[in-house]
């Protein structure tokens, strides 16, 4: 009845998370970092839905949780992009290491 076993989902989300983590850690561009974070969130979403489908009694729980995460991610992206935009307008850069005005 389940053509695709749960392991595949887990491994797939592991890869997706690792790609996101790598991107977030290595990108110099703030937008790249944001994209990496989105990837990690989506990896988590896949896990949520997969486990809710395979393990939970009521599969809706995981789906609703994923929708929450998507909404939060959209909010985070909106705020993050807004900050980046403001930063670019003021400092003419989107490189993470150049943005250190909060550092002593």
């Amino acid at each position: 009845m389940n053509p695709i076993p749960l392991n595949h989902f887990v491994i797939f989300s592991l890869f997706l998370f690792s790609i996101g983590l790598y991107g977030a850690l290595t990108r110099r561009n703030v937008i790249g970092i944001l994209m990496g974070i989105e990837l990690m969130l989506n990896a988590a979403n896949i896990n949520l839905i997969a486990f809710s489908r395979y393990v939970s009694q009521s599969p809706e729980t995981g789906q609703i949780f994923a929708i929450f995460v998507i909404v939060l991610a959209a909010c985070a992206a909106a705020i993050g992009l807004a900050i980046v935009l403001a930063m670019y307008q003021n400092r003419k850069t989107v490189r993470a290491e150049d943005i250190h005005i909060l550092k002593w």
Binding site: L21, A24, L25, T26, I33, A96, E97, H100, L102, K103, W104
Partner: protein
Amino acid sequence: MAYAYLIPFFPLLAFAVIIFNGKKLQYKSAGIAIGGSLLSAAVSTLVIFETLRGGTYSHSFEWLRVGTFSLNFGILIDPLTAMMLFVVTYVGSLIFIYSVGYMHEDPRFSRFFAYLSLFMASMLGLVLSSHYIQLFIFWELVGLCSYLLIGFWFEKTSAAKAGMKAFITTKIGDVGFLIGILLLFACAGTLQFKDFTPEFLSAKAQTGGALLALAAILIFAGACGKSAQFPLHVWLPDAMEGPTPVSALIHAATMVAAGVYLVARSFVLFSHFPQALAVVAVIGTITAFMAAFIALTATDIKKVLAYSTISQLGYMMAALGLGGFSAGTFHLMTHAFFKALLFLGAGSVIHGTQTQDLREMGGLFPRMKITSLTFLVAALAISGVPPLSGFFSKDEILLTAYESGQNIIFFILLATSFMTAFYMFRLFVLAFLGKPRKKIHAHESPAVMTVPLSILAVFSALIGIPGSPYLNHWFQGFIHGGHSQEIHISLFVIKCSIAAAVSGIALAVIFYRFFPKIPEFLAKVFKPLYLISCNKFWLDELYQWVLIRPFMKISQLLFKFDESIVDGAVNQSAFQTINLSGIKNWFDQHIVDGAVNGVARITQQASRISRKFQTGLIQNYLLMLLLGLLFTMLIGFYR
């Protein structure tokens, strides 16, 4: 006669106006000064007429109250004051006018007139004073003016020094004067002039006669300083460094007569004590003779006149000392006119020839007719040729000496009279007659100078008449306050006096006009006498050695003491304070500041490590987060 208060007020006002607006007024200041002096002359004339009608006036007001004692200042007008007012305002005004011409090119023209006005105000205040303390205040004020005017050309070192010398020398006498006043107050209990009557003194003399006599002698010390009498006369010849009108007004006619005036004003006091009178007479006689002797060889035209002034003041003092109140005051008045004229004439000569040295002059008569003629009048007057003013006053002094029975004094004064005639005509002949000894462009002075000369010449000639036998010795009666004086004319004295004058004049003319070899010959024969006269009895040198040098030595010693001990102590304490402060500074720097800085440094060092954690790079944080997570997971895995 309360309006007499106005008399010193006008020149004072002129002084105030000129000194504050000198730059703006420039030549107008002379007009203000002359206006002030003429106004006081006008008011003085009213006062004099009032006095001539027999009025005396005294008014006083409380100036200061100390406990129950009140110091009353005011004015006292009697015949003596009236005479002084006459002399000061009339001679003063003429000299003011003359100064316009003499000082015309001076850059401090207006200041000169300010000082002259201040002097005039002080001198008038002095003669109007009714109280010894008040008189002393004005006395010092005229001394100040004298100092300012002697040193008027202070760019010249000699003038500045002469001003200082005059001030200090007279101050020595003034100390005596002040002590005398205080002693007088201690003995008599009052210092108002009008309180000193013969009866009052007789009452006081019973308890403190010797002290009163001492007070009189000390007051005479003040008069000695101001009137340049024997031990303190050295300042007056040096005072000739000042402008010539100043020499005429202050150092010949008025201020130096203040000493004589003081003795005359205190005459009741002096005449009560024969010892005090004797001191006055002896000092006066010595001064008269010595100064005349020095004048014989002086070569500076103003120095001759200066010594002549000293000599004539000695004459007045001698007359007062011998009890001749009217003789002394009469000579004061006549002398003021002819000596002012002599000085102004000399000023005119200096103005015309630009030299003061008699040896460079000569033959000025054709070129300076008015100056020469007026000078001749004054020279005849001072020599005592009848019927000019000097004859009557000098004759009366000789008469006083003769009648007092002091034959030595009489003959010394007679000899002085001879020398006076001689040196005056030596001066006249050398300056005005003969041929010019040096090429000088002599020219007559402007009218503003010659007109006062002419007026003074008229006065010099005629001012003796009121005291002459022709008017029955009217002046002598007047000055004594209306009591007619019995004056016995002595033909012997008159003959002596005329003989001295005429022989002096004749000898001078013969020596210097016709046989110039004779004086040189005499100077060689009587070399010691000549040297004494030339070197002014070595008095300046004596003072230098006996007083000034030791004084300087003492001062230097005190200075050394001051420098090494007093300054040493002060400097040492300062030094120690600096040392102590150094230690405190070190403590502050290293311990107190060290603690504070140390805390700061430790914090800094600690921060340097901790700030490594906070790079500001978002990826670093993220990496650390990851490592932390892995670490936690590892722990969890192996547990």
